[in-house]
Symmetry: D2
Subunit: 345 residues, 4 copies
Amino acid sequence: MTASRTFASDNNAGVHPEVMAALAAANEGHVHAYGDDPYTQEAIGHFRRHFGEEVAVHFVFNGTGANVSALGALMRSYEACICPETAHINVDECGAFEHLVGGKLLTVPTSDGKLTAELVEASIHGVGVEHHIQPRVVSITQATEYGTVYTPHEIRAIAEAAHAHGLWLHMDGARIANATVSLGCSLREASLDAGVDVLSFGGTKNGILMGEAVVFADPTMAPGFKYVRKQSMQLASKMRFMAAQFTALLQDDLWWRNASHANAMAELLAQKMASVPGVEIFQKVQANEVFARMPAESIVPLQGVADFYLWDEPHSEVRWVTSWDTTESDVERFAAAALQLAHGV
Amino acid sequence: MTASRTFASDNNAGVHPEVMAALAAANEGHVHAYGDDPYTQEAIGHFRRHFGEEVAVHFVFNGTGANVSALGALMRSYEACICPETAHINVDECGAFEHLVGGKLLTVPTSDGKLTAELVEASIHGVGVEHHIQPRVVSITQATEYGTVYTPHEIRAIAEAAHAHGLWLHMDGARIANATVSLGCSLREASLDAGVDVLSFGGTKNGILMGEAVVFADPTMAPGFKYVRKQSMQLASKMRFMAAQFTALLQDDLWWRNASHANAMAELLAQKMASVPGVEIFQKVQANEVFARMPAESIVPLQGVADFYLWDEPHSEVRWVTSWDTTESDVERFAAAALQLAHGV
Amino acid sequence: MTASRTFASDNNAGVHPEVMAALAAANEGHVHAYGDDPYTQEAIGHFRRHFGEEVAVHFVFNGTGANVSALGALMRSYEACICPETAHINVDECGAFEHLVGGKLLTVPTSDGKLTAELVEASIHGVGVEHHIQPRVVSITQATEYGTVYTPHEIRAIAEAAHAHGLWLHMDGARIANATVSLGCSLREASLDAGVDVLSFGGTKNGILMGEAVVFADPTMAPGFKYVRKQSMQLASKMRFMAAQFTALLQDDLWWRNASHANAMAELLAQKMASVPGVEIFQKVQANEVFARMPAESIVPLQGVADFYLWDEPHSEVRWVTSWDTTESDVERFAAAALQLAHGV
Amino acid sequence: MTASRTFASDNNAGVHPEVMAALAAANEGHVHAYGDDPYTQEAIGHFRRHFGEEVAVHFVFNGTGANVSALGALMRSYEACICPETAHINVDECGAFEHLVGGKLLTVPTSDGKLTAELVEASIHGVGVEHHIQPRVVSITQATEYGTVYTPHEIRAIAEAAHAHGLWLHMDGARIANATVSLGCSLREASLDAGVDVLSFGGTKNGILMGEAVVFADPTMAPGFKYVRKQSMQLASKMRFMAAQFTALLQDDLWWRNASHANAMAELLAQKMASVPGVEIFQKVQANEVFARMPAESIVPLQGVADFYLWDEPHSEVRWVTSWDTTESDVERFAAAALQLAHGV
């Protein structure tokens, strides 16, 4: 099997050695299943150190599970969640939100994947009128599906708009580490401190094997979450192995090292590709993703060098994602090949 | 953290070293996410070797996920699944079936956790009448929640009853390995060959870290399964690590060694506990679980020796589960303590 | 088309002339749709006169709609409703509860269709444990599906058991009028005053054209009900015509006259049939239904005289239902035919 | 109570006398409940005369019930329905589609409420990819929520696009009669003959008391519909009274007379209002609805003359709806008042 690295997805990367070591270390004797074990308590402790002692933390299997169980605990079936049209919950989760929650996504077109307070305000209609589904949550993604990052100030404005209307603010933080590194702040400043009520904290894309966490700013906001998680089939039996991975990420700075490296590689890639004739980078590169337009005829040949996704075929838009394990030479080899293709060599 | 082993659950055990080694070996470079990778293909190959070249195999996160996504792909919301009252899908999955599938479980009281063809027949009512939910699937558990095992002959009779009425037969095989070892047959003889249409193949309770598989006898029976899995939030991104564990289990005989050992330990435990005054083992011990009645006042002290569950408090019934890593001395220490408690020492 | 009257169902009867007159009287000009009209206000006023000024009243299309929207407003998908095995929500609503609410019915076998406080207590398990669905509501039917009636004292005991565990008490009152007449009390004494929190108030079986009401003892218990009703597709646009029927029922004593007559006819029928050789009435006749065992070979011939349902074929049990329009001669003709069949004439 | 007529909604109108007479005529003796009665058979016969002998016809309570049960019978939870952003199923049904079907609406912005074949094509993405919900149905409204009407030619183009991708075409025909009259064709030409697979046939807005019908072009396309209807709580017990209303509508030309009158009144209203200074009619008036922009300060005073809805407050857009019972003098009085307001009298 191949050891080559692609730019297709940070899900294509493997697991950081420190995380593998943590799994091995947790594999000792018997502990209670389903989270009633010291590994889980330890991991929750690390989350509390980062996010505040009062937060409630629950581990789930994957990002869809985190998003939908978090929203399911906060919403009734007659309620709606406002999100950008590009949101993962809208386009990449095969309708899990609608099926599990029963409610509706009120989607908002954006150019860069980012909501604003004004867009939130404009999406609130029909409150109190039974014919219309009732807005209840706003969901934003940090970093966005376009690799852009919300500043704490921008989040605060959205949170204030949401809260003024009695709505919760959810953050899909599948790449919260990348966004935090990009902002140069703490995990908490990039999310809860800016007014986020519940965070889907991503682990899988940042070097762990499998697992995400749902972090509620206030444990009283979703008293039924544990039932929602179980009913949503997101409760792991051998929870210690999920928890141990998060301890590995959070106990020192592995979360930061992994994300920081991936972001640096994205920046390097963007810089090198920007000078390739015919390539236009059309979104700000603020995390570990680069979105570009490039000549249609070069796409397949370049995918042969290192795989990536054709994001929007009609517009010849592509996405390149870097990972904790992307190397400078991966970037250089790819950029050199692009340059050769551009010059018709 | 403690290294002691309990009799509470096979979910309390850790991961077999061969499985840990397989995870490490799979951690090499980039592969496509979501199952489009060689590790997944390899694991599917091992399933096909065991169950037949024609089967469709899909990996999911946990047992509830396997059961409910399998049933969800086969049923409409106005259809019902006939199962024993004791079925895991009925009592231990927090209503995941009802919420995800939208249908109803028609539950049948049994003394030993086992359905029969006659019980299935007697549960079929109101076919074709729109006021009544329509039976569509029969679900049995192998080994059952009472640690008993269906013979291939018994399964065949149920399958024939189900199929005669146009119903599918689902098997919750969370402990299919233990049942198979107990029967001394092949995995396939203990399930699909006896008429089972779809099998939830358990891995977690048999020494892996996390993961179950859904095995369809005929790939055409549930063409929408892949969408159901994704929508049910059971699609792992770094699928290779789930697949690699199944390869470890199935490529040689690790599945058999683990289950065989656990079964032997249950037999030893049953044998030793049967001679403890006041202890009555009230279910056949055919897999890795022992169900017993014992004096109420001895339960808490004995849990102090090694933890286990009080299964039915009013009847003073307890459950002891053995695992791939249970040792003879674990059993002896436990039985000796029980004997001491019985003698009031 | 035929004008004959059957004993098959009170749903087979037509509409009382006073109700038809009320429909005609409401057919005047324009009023706001969806309940914002004086007819609806008037009908609510009549409910408040009967049930108390503080109740919240909402009209829906049918009994299933009343039951399921009431329960849906009170429950989350991870919660369960305890009910008799014979409950209409369990056997006659094609899984609407499971599909709409997402939760589970915890069904209790009974001999007469009636729960007791003890049966409720015995059904409450696993509270606080995330693997188990959480009991949230108890549902009883007044009069029951076996034509038996709960006394206020019996209801009070169930309500106390339910409330002691933080559960709501729902009453399916598809035949609340028949039960109330039978008890010789007020509608309120037969339901809310005895501790019922929410009542499905039946109209259709008691002489109206179409419609049921959901009556909440306390308007604050289900603040989202109006959205649940709309989302459950139970909000009538020309609401005035639903409301006008309830005004006809409740403004004077039409509800009482209709139910009283139907009950009297059931009593007469039971009395006459009890003397037919081979006929055994096996449930108390307390409302407008008679349940009997009778010789299998007489059933089809007797259905030819006036239709009725074979309730339980293996046990040769039948159900006879009387209506507001059943006449004494209907009863006498039927009983005479039964007697002739019994004598082999 | 008032006999004044508004322009708020055709749901505010009462019931045509011929429909009331049909209800009275059906109120004779006992018939089987739930549709197994001669009235229902007769009504189905009338539908078959209009739509073809092969169609399957089912009655439901309301428009939301018709739309959602039709779609629910055709779709799985992982499938999507493409519709205009303005569709009733999207904005006016409180999420009933999402809750009952579990799937997603893929909404398309339009200027006039009408889809086109091109818009349908552009909405089909991610087919066969499990991350994305799978398009399964296209839904159009005839007449649209903007009072515009699809020609059979336009419908045919949409049907061809849908069918080419294996999608069904659903028509929300809440105002199918108004559209048909406007087109000057038959009901069938305005719907099924143009390629519609399933039609929600509206009755309530066209002069009946309560009821809609679901008409499947081919009875084999949704074999489970009867269960979906029951589970969706849309099965009326005293079905004869629903059926009798449709017989009244369809047996001669009442459906045409009512719709024709309403359309004529809308045309008259549009003509008169077009000459009021400051009023701009911004949608084609093709059925019984008029959409206009008018000076914000005149809206409330004009609502005092006859009520209507402010459709889009920021743009000062209003909706006027005419009904089977709107009179010329209603229109003249309203237009005269508008003129007076415009002249500041």
